[in-house]
Every structure is written in C-alpha cells, then in structure tokens.
Amino acid sequence: MTWLWSNLDLVGELIVVHLALSVPAIILSFVVSVPIGWLAHRYRWSRGVLLSLCGLLYAIPSVALLIALPVVTGQGVRSPLNLVVALTLYGIAVIVRTSADAFDSVERDIRQSATAIGYSEVGRFWGVELPLAGPVLLSGLRVVIVSTVSLATIGAVIGVQSLGSLFTDGFQRGIQAEVITGVVATIALALVLDALAVLGGRLLMPWTRSAIAIGRAGAGTPAKQARAA
C-alpha cells in the first residue's frame, strides 16, 4: 500500500496512457467488425471466408505480431501506433463472429415485416436490423473491451508504456506491490469500461432493460458462448 501512495502520480499517468492505447483500438475494432459481420450474415458464401480470415488473425501470437507489424506500418517497434493496430486486429478477430451472429439473431419475420411496411434496404438496416442486433453486438463488444484492456499490457515487454510497465518494472526491481497494483489497476480499468458499455447499452437500447441478462450471455446457444470465451 505504501508503494501505491507514493506512486499515485505514476499509476494515474499510466492509466491515462493505457486508456489512450485501448479505447481507440476497441472503438476501431467495433466499427470495422460490424460491417464485416453484416456482410458475412447477408452473403452466405462470404461467411466462411470472412470468419476464417478473421479467426486466423487470432492465431497470431501478440508479441510476434507487435514485432512483425513495423514491417507493414513502417513505424518503430516501440511505437504506440503498432500496439493500437495490433489490438484492433485482435478485437476484430474476437468480435466479427459475434457480429455475424448478431445479425443472424434478427428474425426473418421481422425483416420481412419491415420491408412490407415500406423500409428500404438501407433504412431497414439502420432502423430495424442494427437496433435488434444491438444486444448481441454489445455482448461481443464487452468481450473485446475486457480482452483489449488486458492485452494492452503485453506492449510493456517490448517497451511500449502502459499499465503493463508496472509489471516489467516491478519484476526487474523486485517490488511485489508494484506488480499487484498493475494487475488490480488493469482489471479495475477493464471492469469500469465494461460497466460503461453496459450503461451505454441501456441508454441506447431501453427495450433490453428487462432482458439484459439474456443479452449478456451472448443471447444464444452455449456454442456461441463458448466461442465468445
């Protein structure tokens, strides 16, 4: 505890840096994945290709990806930009399948009714499909939030500052309190962002308020839950 009190400034600073790394990655991966997921849902033939390509991203080890990315981005190995790109790629790998499932979860009858009362294809997407896919999308987003915040610490081993720096620094100098602080701060940050996402979901999707527990479980079969895990 004494270590924490005398280093509050450092921890606060690292939390800000950590947010600056993980929040853009979370938002980017969500924004990129929703259209990909919709394509996989809309065009059956593309589903296998898109989902396995994105699954392949997940198979690339994070440290290896961080080192290999500069070849593509042209940035230095220690550039925070590489980390954001890597985290975004992992985010996409995690959420694309869920977002395809999310659009699948909208019932065919509802889609047909929307067309019947005069929705255009575009209007139907924004007005009907996207809101109804919302709860499942949110469940995918929550997985991405937690795993991205946790994964961002990996950058510390190659010298990108984040809450992970508390692990490497604490390990090198043998300060147990510093490592524990890092672990607790990372988990806390993940939980806070997760809670914000849930709150945002309630505000944006008031109709799910009673059914939030269902949306949380991935709104689907156990197999879907397993994939999300």
Partner: protein, 247 residues
Amino acid sequence: MNLLLDAIAWIVDPANWTGPGSIPLRIWEHLWVAALVLVIASAIALPIGMLIGHTGRGKQFAVMTSGGLRALPTLGALTLFGLWLGIGLPAPVIALVILAIPPLLAGAYAGFESVDRRTIDAARAVGMNEPQVVGKVELPLSLPIVVGGIRSASLQIIATAILAAYIADFGLGRPIFEGLRTRDYGEMLGASILVIILALVVDGAFALAQRLAVPAGVRANRTRELRSRPARPRAILGQPINEGNQQ
C-alpha cells in the same frame, strides 16, 4: 523489406540450427512446455466443465470463471509468480495454466450443455446408467465443442509461451528478447515469424481434429441425401416402409 530479408537471413543461418539454443531446440522447448501446460490445465478444467455441463449445477461459476479470468493480464500473473517462485519454469507454467483454464472450462461446459436433453432422456430410457450417458452420449456429441475449447487454449498457450522467456531461459521467446536487448531486429522478427508459423500449424491441426471429432452418426444425419429414396422398389413393397430418415 530489408527487415524481412534480415529475418529470413536469421532463420536460414546454419549457425542458428546447431548447438545449444538452436532453432530446432527452441521449437522443441516451446512445444514441450505448451503440451505440459495443456495437460495440467485440461486435467483441472475439463472434468469441472463436464461436471457442470452434465449436472447443470454451478453454471454461474463456469460463466464467471471463464469470463472473469479474461480480465487478468497474463504478463501481470507471470511477473507476480516470477517474483514469488524465482527465475525458472514453474512461474510461467502456473501463469499459462491459469490462462488456459477459461477456454477449456467454457468448451467443456458449453459442449455438454449443448447436447439435446431429449437425446439424454432417450439414452436413460433405453437403460443407460450415468457413466454410460456421459461416456457414450454426452462426450461424443459434445466433442467438437470440447475440442474447440482445447484448440483455443493451445493457441493461447503457444502465443503466450513467448512471454515465459521473460523469466526463464526457454522457448522461441528467448531469441525475441535477446534481439530486443541487442537491437537485432532480424533475430526478433525471424523468431516471431517462426512462432506465427508454429501457431498457425497447431491451429490448423486442431481445426482438422475438430472436424474429425464429429461422431459418425451425427455426420450421416447432416448429409440429407442419405436414404432419401426407399432401398427397394416401391412396387414390391406395396406400402412404403418407414425407413431411417424417410418421413
């Protein structure tokens, strides 16, 4: 592109293929520890997950554990165990086991839960006892999902085993950290490429295993054409006999 050439030069350099710390040795270490971790984690997580899926009790525990452990940063766990247990293999093995438990638990639990209740009731109705229901019905039917859990666990272990080199002299992470210290980008990238290939190969092998894990009976059911026509000419039968999949 120069960076890539450096990396390839490091990989094909004959000096890196013999002696202590050679590439084949590093790959062997990497796979060996990954397998050890997988066995330990499976021994812990699979029976618990199967029990939860079979009985339906403790569902909350499975969901919480597999979701909650995800927030735990592996690097943090690794360094913490490193401080407690010192330099060497025990710390990374424990950290990796903790990392591998959530996907294994989720796979086993979700797999068992996904088996149709009517199928289980039918198995009991024809006189199977509990061990038979588990071994002959639930396990084969859930195998693709259980193997899926093992697949994602092994992938994470192989990926994260790089970090183990941070506190122990072993695996393909070693040349990565060595290159980081000596600013030898070719070595770092070369070793990274090897890990990526290793991960993709292992993932591909498990993807195949997942496909093969579908029980033969279930696979037959998927091909719709099977027995869509009566095996014998109708004229002889007089009345169609309800055969197999025929409705």
